[in-house]
C-alpha cells in the first residue's frame, strides 16, 4: 500500500491539496464578494456579469479551457501582456491549474449565495443601515452571518468541482507530470498507462476527500444553524 502511495500520489496530491486550500480562500473572498455585488439590482451591467460567471455551468469545460488558452497563451492578447510586462506565465504552469479551479468553481458559490442574499439578506441589511451601521459593518456583521449556510454549501460545491476539474485544467495547466498534474489528471494518466492499481487508489483518495469535505461543510452549516 505504502509502495503504491509513494509511487502514485505524492506530486498530484500535493498540488491538489494546494489548489483546495487556495480555493477555500479565493472562492470565499471572490465568490461571496461577487455574490454581494450581483445581488444589488443597481449594479451596472448586472446581467452581463451574471452571464460571464455562470458560463462554466453551461459551456463545455474543454471549450472554455481552449478559449482561455488562446486568451492567456504567450501569444494571446492577455497572456502576452502578462508575460512581457509582469513576467507571469499562466498557461502550462501551476497558476493555470489554480485559475482553472477558480473559474470552474466560481458559479457554484456565487449563485446560491447571491440567491440567499437577494431573498433573506436584503431586508436585514436595510435594518442594519437604519440602525446606524455602514455598508462594510453591515456586510460582515449581518449579511455574511445570515447567509452562512449558503456560503458553506457553495464552498463545498465549488471545491468539489475544483477537485474533479479536468477540461479547463488540461488546457491551461497542460497536464505536465510532476508540475501541473492534479489528482484528477493523474487518474486519467494512470488509466492511459494501464496502471489500474494506481488509478483505483487515486480515485478512492479523491472521492474520499471530496466526501469528507462535503460532510465537514454540512456539519459546520448545521452546527452554526443550531448553536448560533
Amino acid at each position: 500500500m505504502s509502495v503504491l502511495w509513494t509511487h502514485c500520489a505524492p506530486a498530484p496530491f500535493g498540488l491538489t491539496l494546494k489548489v483546495v486550500l487556495a480555493m477555500m480562500l479565493c472562492q470565499l473572498i471572490l465568490g461571496v464578494g461577487l455574490a454581494w455585488l450581483l445581488s444589488r439590482p443597481s449594479l451596472p451591467g448586472r446581467l452581463v456579469w451574471e452571464g460571464a460567471i455562470s458560463l462554466p455551468l453551461v459551456f463545455p469545460p474543454i471549450a472554455i479551457g481552449f478559449f482561455l488558452l488562446l486568451l492567456l497563451g504567450r501569444r494571446g492578447p492577455l497572456g502576452h501582456i502578462l508575460h512581457d510586462s509582469l513576467g507571469v506565465e499562466v498557461v502550462f504552469s501551476p497558476l493555470g491549474v489554480y485559475l482553472a479551479a477558480l473559474i470552474a468553481g466560481l458559479p457554484l458559490i456565487v449563485k446560491p449565495v447571491q440567491a440567499a442574499m437577494e431573498t433573506s439578506a436584503a431586508e436585514l441589511a436595510e435594518a442594519a443601515y437604519v440602525l446606524g451601521r455602514g455598508r462594510i459593518a453591515t456586510f460582515f456583521l449581518v449579511v455574511v452571518p445570515s447567509v452562512h449556510a449558503a456560503i458553506l454549501t457553495g464552498l463545498a460545491l465549488a471545491i468539489g468541482r475544483a477537485l474533479g476539474e479536468v477540461g479547463i485544467t488540461l488546457m491551461l495547466g497542460g497536464n505536465i507530470v510532476g508540475q501541473t498534474e492534479t489528482l484528477s489528471l493523474a487518474i486519467y494518466n494512470r488509466v492511459l498507462d494501464g496502471d489500474f492499481d494506481c488509478a483505483t487508489q487515486l480515485s478512492l483518495l479523491l472521492g474520499g476527500g471530496s466526501l469528507l469535505l462535503f460532510g465537514l461543510m454540512q456539519w459546520l452549516s448545521r452546527s452554526r444553524r443550531q448553536g448560533g
Binding site: E126, A127, A128, L131, R133, A137, P145, G228
Partner: protein
C-alpha cells in the same frame, strides 16, 4: 417644537405617489390605506431606503432630502427608527444582541443598561438569550419594537407594528407603545390597516389611496368628516349612498332621497351616514326593510335593505324596541349629520 415636514413625489411601478404631511413631536400620526397604496414606500423614503423622485424632507431645520439642492442623507445620518413589517430581526443574534445592535461605540456598561431597560419594558427577559427563530410571532414583534426604540431614534416609523399578535397582546402593546411614545416625545408615523390603531393611538390620521394622500388631519376631524369616498371606506364608513342629482334641497339616488344642499362644485358625490345618526320616521324617509340584527358593543346593529338593494346599517340602543325582520320602515338623517363625500 420639532416637526418632520414631508413633501415628496415617489416613483412606483404602477403609479406616482404624492405625500405632503407634517409630523409633530410627541404626536402619533396613523397612516391608513389599502395594501399596495404606497404607505410602506413612503416609510422607506422617510427612513432613507428609497430616494423620492422630487420634494423635500426635513426634521426641524435639518434637511434629510431636497431634490433641488441634491441632498439625500443616508439612513444612518437620518437616525430614523423604522420597524419593519416582517420585523427583520437578525437571525444569528440573540434577542439581547438584536436590541444592542444599534448601541455600538457606546461604553459596555451603558449598553448593557440600555438592553436591560428595553428587555424589561417589553417583557423580554425570559427570551433574552433565544434566537429569533425560536420565539413566537408576538415575541418577535415586541423584539422588533424594542430594537427600534433602543436605538433612540429622532423619528419613529412603524410598519404595521401590531398586525401579527392576538387581540389581548395587541391591546397591551398599544398601551405600552403609547407610554413610550409619550415619554420619548418624538414624531411617530404608524402605518396600519387596523382602525383600532387609529382609535387608540392616533393624534392625527392620514389616508393614502393609490399613492395619493386623500385626507390628513386630527382624528376627530378626519373620522367625522372623511370628505373622500375611499378615505371614508378606509375609516370604516359603511353607509355610503351615491347621489344621482341634487334638486330642491334634496339629494336623489336610486335608493330614495335625503335633504342635502347642492354643493358649489359639480362632480360625483356620495352621502355618508354614521350608523348612530339614522332616525326612524313615519313618512317622507328613505324606504327600507329590516334584514338582520347583530350585537355591536353598547348597540344593536340593524341591517336594512333599501329599495335599490343597497344595505345600510343603523345602531340602536338596547333599551330601544327591537324591530322584527321584514319590518318596513322609513329612515331619515338630520341634515347636520349628513356627510358629503367626493
Amino acid at each position: 417644537m420639532t416637526s418632520l415636514d414631508v413633501s415628496v413625489r415617489l416613483a412606483r411601478a404602477s403609479f406616482e405617489s404624492l405625500a405632503e404631511l407634517q409630523l409633530h413631536t410627541g404626536e402619533t400620526t396613523v397612516l391608513l390605506g389599502p395594501s399596495g397604496g404606497g404607505k410602506s414606500t413612503l416609510l422607506r423614503a422617510l427612513a432613507g431606503l428609497e430616494r423620492p423622485r422630487s420634494g423635500r424632507i426635513a426634521l426641524g431645520d435639518r434637511v434629510w432630502f431636497d431634490s433641488r439642492q441634491g441632498i439625500h442623507l443616508s439612513p444612518r445620518q437620518r437616525k430614523a427608527g423604522l420597524m419593519f413589517q416582517h420585523y427583520a430581526l437578525f437571525p444569528h443574534l440573540s434577542v439581547a444582541q438584536n436590541l444592542g445592535f444599534s448601541l455600538f461605540g457606546l461604553n459596555r456598561k451603558f449598553r448593557r443598561q440600555q438592553v436591560e431597560r428595553w428587555l424589561t419594558a417589553l417583557r423580554l427577559h425570559d427570551i433574552a438569550r433565544a434566537k429569533p427563530e425560536h420565539i413566537s410571532g408576538g415575541q418577535r414583534q415586541r423584539v422588533a419594537l424594542a430594537r427600534t426604540l433602543a436605538a433612540d431614534p429622532d423619528v419613529l416609523l412603524l410598519d404595521e407594528p401590531f398586525s401579527a399578535v392576538d387581540s389581548a397582546l395587541r391591546h397591551h402593546l398599544r398601551q405600552l407603545f403609547r407610554e413610550v411614545a409619550q415619554e420619548r416625545a418624538r414624531p411617530v408615523l404608524l402605518v396600519t390597516h387596523d382602525l383600532e390603531d387609529v382609535r387608540e393611538l392616533a393624534d392625527r390620521v392620514a389616508v393614502m389611496v393609490s399613492g395619493q394622500l386623500r385626507r390628513f388631519g386630527s382624528v376627530a376631524e378626519v373620522l367625522s368628516d372623511p370628505r373622500d369616498l375611499e378615505a371614508a371606506r378606509m375609516l370604516g364608513w359603511k353607509n355610503l349612498l351615491p347621489v344621482a342629482r341634487f334638486e330642491s334641497g334634496l339629494a336623489h339616488g336610486s335608493w330614495g332621497c335625503l335633504p342635502a344642499l347642492r354643493p358649489k362644485r359639480s362632480g360625483r358625490y356620495w352621502l355618508g351616514v354614521e350608523p348612530r345618526h339614522w332616525r326612524i320616521v313615519k313618512h317622507q324617509g328613505v324606504p327600507a326593510t329590516v334584514e338582520h340584527h347583530s350585537l355591536f358593543g353598547p348597540y344593536r346593529e340593524m341591517t336594512c335593505r333599501l329599495r335599490d338593494g343597497k344595505r345600510v346599517y343603523l345602531h340602536r340602543r338596547h333599551d330601544e324596541p327591537a324591530m322584527s325582520i321584514g319590518t318596513r320602515l322609513q329612515l331619515r338623517v338630520p341634515a347636520e349629520h349628513l356627510v358629503l363625500l367626493t
